[in-house]
Amino acid sequence: MFILFLPGLAMAYEAQPLATNPQAEARLKALAVELRCLVCQNQTLADSNAPLAEDLRREVREMIAKDMSDKEIIDFLVTRYGDFVLYRPPWKLTTTLLWLGPFLLLGVGATGLVFALRRRQKKVTDVTLSEAEHTRVAKLLSEGVHRP
């Protein structure tokens, strides 16, 4: 689908902020970095030069001009494009694994590590030295660090 937007991309230019109202632009920027461009999915709305991203920035700009709250603006986009437009997915039943997964894996890893270390510790048992070995160790130590 990306290819479909190539003709538009060929003409793409640096995303231009309409610096009419610096306060509104700052709000647009803050919102746009939280929103995903649906055409080039790994870019935010702020980064993307895709025609759709430009249109969406225009929509957001107009909504800011209408004095809508951030929540209203985000809801506007989510009702149309789904949670996927959000770079921070909301906490829901379907996203539980997404949010908890890393901690779950960390827990599994830590438990595994503890068990592995404990098992290794058991293998290291004190070796009792015989009388002859003790005298040999004492003799070697008394000779000091002396290499021929």
Binding site: M1, F2, I3, L4, F5, P7, G8, L38, V39, Q41, P51, L52, D55, L56, E59, V78, T79, R80, Y81, G82, F84
Partner: protein
């Protein structure tokens, strides 16, 4: 043997995830609009700029809304399928000329044929945003009450038409 069991089990799980994950198309996003009322629009017609086409005029019948553009490659790809639907007369297709230029759109339809009852012009792409369009072609199946029942992202292929769209249309027409 036993010490290989856990790594092997993990390996199988990872392969399972990859087998499913890698075959999914990340471009196909589920639309939150399916099952909701189709956003209303009232737009200039492509062939007759004096006239307006409104979504309200289409209530009471099952119809397809196809977002397309003359600059879109996938639209060319699905075009024969649309022509076939139009010829069968099973369901009317309404076109939405998305972010396009009138002269080019008209030339495109003249060259390849016009499968649409009426084509609306969405030059700024606003209606597209209301429908959650993020790449053309996209096609919506809208029922008699004006509710979106299905969204096709990307070109309609023969198998999608036969297995999904036409059975759904027939079902909705009976209601």
């Amino acid at each position: 043997m036993n010490r290989f069991l856990i790594p092997f089990g993990l390996f199988i799980v990872v392969v399972g995830f990859l087998a499913v994950g890698l075959t999914l198309n990340p471009r196909e996003l589920p639309s939150p609009l399916v099952g909701k009322a189709a956003p209303e629009f009232s737009l200039q017609q492509l062939h007759d700029p004096e006239k307006v086409i409104s979504s309200n005029d289409l209530k009471g019948k099952v119809w397809l809304l196809n977002f397309w553009a003359s600059w879109c490659g996938g639209c060319k790809e699905e075009h024969p399928v649309l022509i076939r639907i139009a010829q069968s007369g099973e369901v009317p297709i309404y076109g939405m000329d998305y972010k396009d230029q009138r002269s080019e759109a008209l030339a495109w339809l003249k060259e390849w044929g016009n499968p649409y009852q009426i084509v609306a012009v969405d030059e700024p792409g606003r209606v597209g945003i209301n429908y959650g369009v993020y790449g053309v072609p996209e096609t919506y199946v809208i029922d008699k009450a004006g509710v979106i029942r299905y969204k096709q992202i990307g070109p309609i292929r023969e198998d999608i038409l036969e297995k999904k769209i036409l059975p759904l249309v027939r079902e909705l027409q009976k209601q």
